[in-house]
């Protein structure tokens, strides 16, 4: 407050001419919503690294089973329970095929006369864990993505209709959702898996049967918020049809929330599948998912930790990646967080 502006040197300032063209110019380049979101997401290193990591896991899930010279379900019973052995890395003293037998550390590969390398070791039936882990990742991701996609479709349609039309329709539809959320989803999932033939399909259906209610609530809330705003009113005045208003005006605004919600549904589904494996309602043998692999592995934790280690690390990485991507997207898509 007490600064003396008079003391500032005159040449610090430059007089510019008034220019009507310049006055109307927006110096920031015009960016669409998505470009903007992508820009702020790029600044979030956690989300970007997670994205790369997740990309890597997806690629491995697709090509991993092919990279391995063994089929995920092929058994070589004489090669059962081998620890991991990876070329090059083995010289560092880890993953060198040594394991415990009767309290002593021995090279199990040598003992069993195995020349091949099993990068992630083998399980109790002599199946290659590398192929199984990636095949399992593939299955788990498939279950999670399909379940999330179904949740999204049903949730968006249901929530959208309920929120947009409001009134009696909304009332009835919300009562139905209220009832559905009152049923513990754990119980529903278990009961559905019991009456259906167990397998991927059963797990997906069971997961989605009540899973979509969360999404529908969020979408309804957003639609309610936007549908009475001026731009919608303007569109309506201009004679836009309901479907045009929904798709062209409301959806783009709701999309951010939908994406974020989906980002958190996916890890939830993967986790639930693992839980089902624990109580014995997971995928059927001999197929593997991350859940069944971890469930098989945690019992062997003291003697063959590698059977748990690899699927557990992959699962943890997927969970971490999704959570960080989700966080990043939320920050990027939320206008309040904009800098």
């Amino acid at each position: 407050m007490t600064q003396n502006y008079e003391n500032l040197p005159k040449d610090s300032f430059e007089r510019i001419a008034r220019d009507t063209v310049q006055a109307e110019k927006i110096s920031k380049p015009s960016v669409s919503f998505w470009q903007d979101a992508w820009r702020s997401l790029k600044k979030n290193k956690g989300a970007i690294v997670s994205l790369v990591l997740f990309g890597f896991i997806v690629i491995m899930a697709l090509i991993g089973p092919i990279l391995s010279p063994y089929e995920p379900n092929a058994q070589t019973i004489t090669h059962a329970n081998l620890p991991p052995k990876i070329p090059v890395v083995e010289n560092l003293g880890i993953f060198n095929g040594e394991g415990k037998l009767g309290g002593k550390t021995v090279d199990l590969y040598e003992m069993k006369n195995v020349d091949q390398y099993y990068w992630f070791g083998t399980d109790g039936l002599g199946r290659d864990m590398f192929a199984r882990v990636w095949k399992g990742t593939q299955v788990s991701l498939f279950i999670a993505f399909v379940a999330a996609a179904i949740d999204m479709v049903i949730g968006v349609i249901y929530g959208g209709i309920s929120g947009y039309f409001g009134g009696r329709i909304d009332d009835v539809m919300q009562r139905i959702v209220e009832i559905l959320t009152g049923i513990p989803n754990l119980v529903v999932v278990i009961l559905f898996i019991l009456i259906m033939d167990p397998g991927i399909l059963a797990i997906i259906i069971a997961l989605t049967i009540t899973g979509w209610t969360g999404m529908s609530r969020v979408v309804r809330g957003q639609v309610l918020k936007y549908k009475n705003q001026e731009f919608v009113l303007a569109a309506r005045t201009l004679g836009a049809s309901d479907s045009r208003i929904i798709w062209k005006h409301l959806m783009p605004n709701v999309l951010g929330v939908i994406i974020i919600n989906t980002m958190f549904t996916i890890p939830g589904a993967i986790f639930f599948e693992a839980f089902l494996s624990f109580i014995g309602l997971g995928l059927q043998a001999p197929d593997a998912s991350l859940g069944t692999l971890i469930n098989d592995g945690y019992k062997l934790i003291q003697y063959q930790p590698h059977i748990l280690l690899f699927p557990a690390v992959v699962l943890s990485l997927i969970m971490i990646a999704f959570n960080l991507i989700g966080d990043g997207l939320r920050d990027a898509l939320d206008p309040k967080m904009k800098d």
Binding site: K45, Q75, G280, A285, I301, Y303, H306
Partner: protein
């Protein structure tokens, strides 16, 4: 700055991995310091300690303590320790008189048994009378009771049991009468050579009529509403809990033999938890299943026991009214010889199970000279990949197919899943053109599919209910409630009928007939394909002595067990 967040994150993942991996390092607990016997530690046989308490783990809760309603392993095991029948299996697994005073008098035709009862009391001090048996047996067969094992054990053996169980006769017509307080007369439907071993079975235990009637619906709802007459009494059981204690029964007629003061039992369903409890010293014995069997195979405290429980593949010959590929004998033989049982037992099960090329288990049934029934027939139709291939090609030609797809129905336990995955791989590798689809379902569902004959191959198992090969053989007669695979061979049926009927009094001829029947079933018809005879592996502290394993009825007896050298 954000970069460091990522570094932290992956650093933590690495720590986590190390945490998991580190568990591999810390396993040399305190095993290997005690004894170094290779074939398990059957106790050290020393002087008993002053504290006689045994701490055990059970894998399931007690569904019921009502002898008439019992139908599962846990209930029968506890009943065997807190109650007693006319006979009891001794340390050598031979049925010897318990509540019966000496051997019964048997009539010439082998149909009437007269038992004298010894002086013995219930845990509340009232004497056990012949009427207690009459009441218990009538209760077990009474349709109003809804007992599952009563009709199963008695029908066809005890006079009029079938009719009573179906409601066409009064319960009083059942072939059991109390001549006086100490004399019990039992009439049979047909001569039954193994009748004494039946008398050791839970369903035939006595019940105190006055007490049971007085308790009404509350009878056996917790440990206070039961009367005991065995070596121990049950305490601290609230009816739905996961814990109970068996205390020494002072009123037991043979109480001086019993050395344990208490057996503390907790239900632990996770094997990993059970093993941890054993290692922490809280429990004295733990059963090892699946993966754990392999991990502890070299442990000096490992105890291996053989069980007369046999697992086999049932080949369904008719599904949905149509003949399946397995109606063809060569196809069945190919399947039966097409998988390696030795590897299965060594690598997949790894719990001391034996590969089985037979139906009647080893060390289960013996003739009067003490010879194992197994010795007559030996091994039949073992694994032979070349023979299997020949059978397979022949079979395919006969049914005019080049490819066959079969469904293998099995249990949903982890071990069952692993085993079925192994069988699938073996069969598909050894038999070209075969596709096996696995179907794993809970036990209850499997029974239902079995009954509807809605499966191709079923991985099934059977444990004996009495000590005679018949408990295994008569499962497969035409139309039996266990056959359910449309297997029918007149010759087989005749042999079984003879062994049950006219040969019942002729031990040798009967033995011969049963052996022939087994050969027919396995070797000639390959109606089923035996897989393995179950072994049990457990860890047991070296100070535990003399727990007796029984082949049927209750699995274990603690009557003779004692602790020595724990202090």
């Amino acid at each position: 700055m954000k970069n460091s967040k990522i570094l932290w994150l992956f650093g933590l993942v690495l720590v986590l991995s190390a945490f998991l991996a580190a568990c591999g390092g810390g396993d040399d607990t305190d095993t290997g310091t005690e004894t170094t016997e290779t074939e398990g530690t059957e106790g050290n046989g020393g002087e008993p300690d002053s504290v006689q308490e045994l701490n055990l783990i059970q894998s399931a809760e007690i569904p019921t303590m009502d002898v008439s309603m019992a139908e599962d392993a846990v209930a029968f095991e506890i009943l065997n320790n807190v109650n007693e029948g006319l006979f009891r299996l001794n340390e050598e697994n031979i049925a010897e008189p318990a509540l019966a005073e000496g051997e019964p008098e048997v009539s010439e035709d082998g149909l009437t048994y007269t038992f004298k009862l010894r002086d013995a009391n219930w845990s509340d001090g009232t004497p056990i009378t012949a009427n207690d048996f009459v009441f218990a047996w009538q209760r077990a067969i009474d349709p109003d009771t809804g007992s599952p094992y009563g009709p199963y054990m008695m029908a066809g053996t005890i006079k009029n049991a079938t009719e009573v169980s179906e409601g066409s006769m009064e319960v009083s017509e059942l072939g059991i009468t109390a001549e006086d307080d100490n004399t019990l007369v039992v009439e049979l439907e047909r001569p039954t050579p193994y009748f004494m071993s039946l008398m050791a079975f839970g369903t035939f235990y006595p019940l105190n009529e006055e007490f049971v009637t007085e308790q009404g619906g509350d009878y056996a709802s917790n440990s206070e509403t039961i009367l005991y007459n065995g070596p121990f009494t049950l305490t601290n059981w609230d009816g739905t809990g996961l814990t109970w204690t068996m205390e020494k029964n002072a009123e037991y007629w043979d109480a001086e033999t019993v050395q344990l003061d208490a057996v503390n039992v907790d239900v632990v369903k996770e094997t990993s938890t059970a093993v941890n409890l054993y290692q922490s010293g809280e429990k004295d014995r733990v059963g090892l299943s699946g993966e754990f069997a392999l991990q502890y195979a070299e442990d000096p405290e490992v105890l291996r026991e053989q069980e007369p429980v046999l697992f086999y593949l049932k080949f369904n010959q008719e599904r949905d009214g149509e003949e399946t590929a397995m109606a063809n004998e060569n196809i069945r033989k190919a399947l039966a010889t097409g998988f390696n049982k030795q590897s299965l037992v060594d690598v997949v099960l790894a719990n001391g199970s034996l590969p089985a090329n037979y139906l009647v288990p080893t060390e289960f049934a013996f003739n009067e000279a003490g010879e194992d029934f197994r010795e007559i027939n030996g091994d039949m139709l073992g694994f032979n990949a070349d023979e299997a291939k020949t059978y397979w090609e022949q079979g395919l030609e006969e049914i005019g197919e080049t490819e066959v797809t079969l469904e293998l129905l099995g249990g949903d336990t982890e071990l069952a899943g692993k085993m079925d995955a192994y069988l699938k791989d073996q069969l598909e590798t050894n038999l070209e053109g075969l596709t096996v689809n696995l179907k794993a379902v809970p036990f209850g569902v499997r029974l239902e599919l079995d009954e509807a004959q809605d499966y191709d191959i079923q991985n099934s198992g059977w444990g004996p209910d009495f000590q005679d090969p018949m408990t295994f053989l008569d499962l497969f007669v035409t139309g039996s409630s266990h056959n359910l695979m449309s297997y029918s061979n007149e010759e087989f049926d005749t042999l079984i009928e003879q062994a049950k009927g006219e040969l019942a009094q002729d031990a040798e001829g009967r033995w011969e007939a049963m052996a022939q029947a087994e050969k027919l079933l396995i070797e000639e018809d390959a109606a089923i394909a035996p897989i393995y005879q179950r072994g049990i592996m457990s860890l047991q502290k070296p100070y535990v002595n003399n727990i007796v394993k029984h082949p049927f009825g209750g699995d274990y007896s603690y009557k003779w067990a004692y602790i020595s050298g724990k202090e």
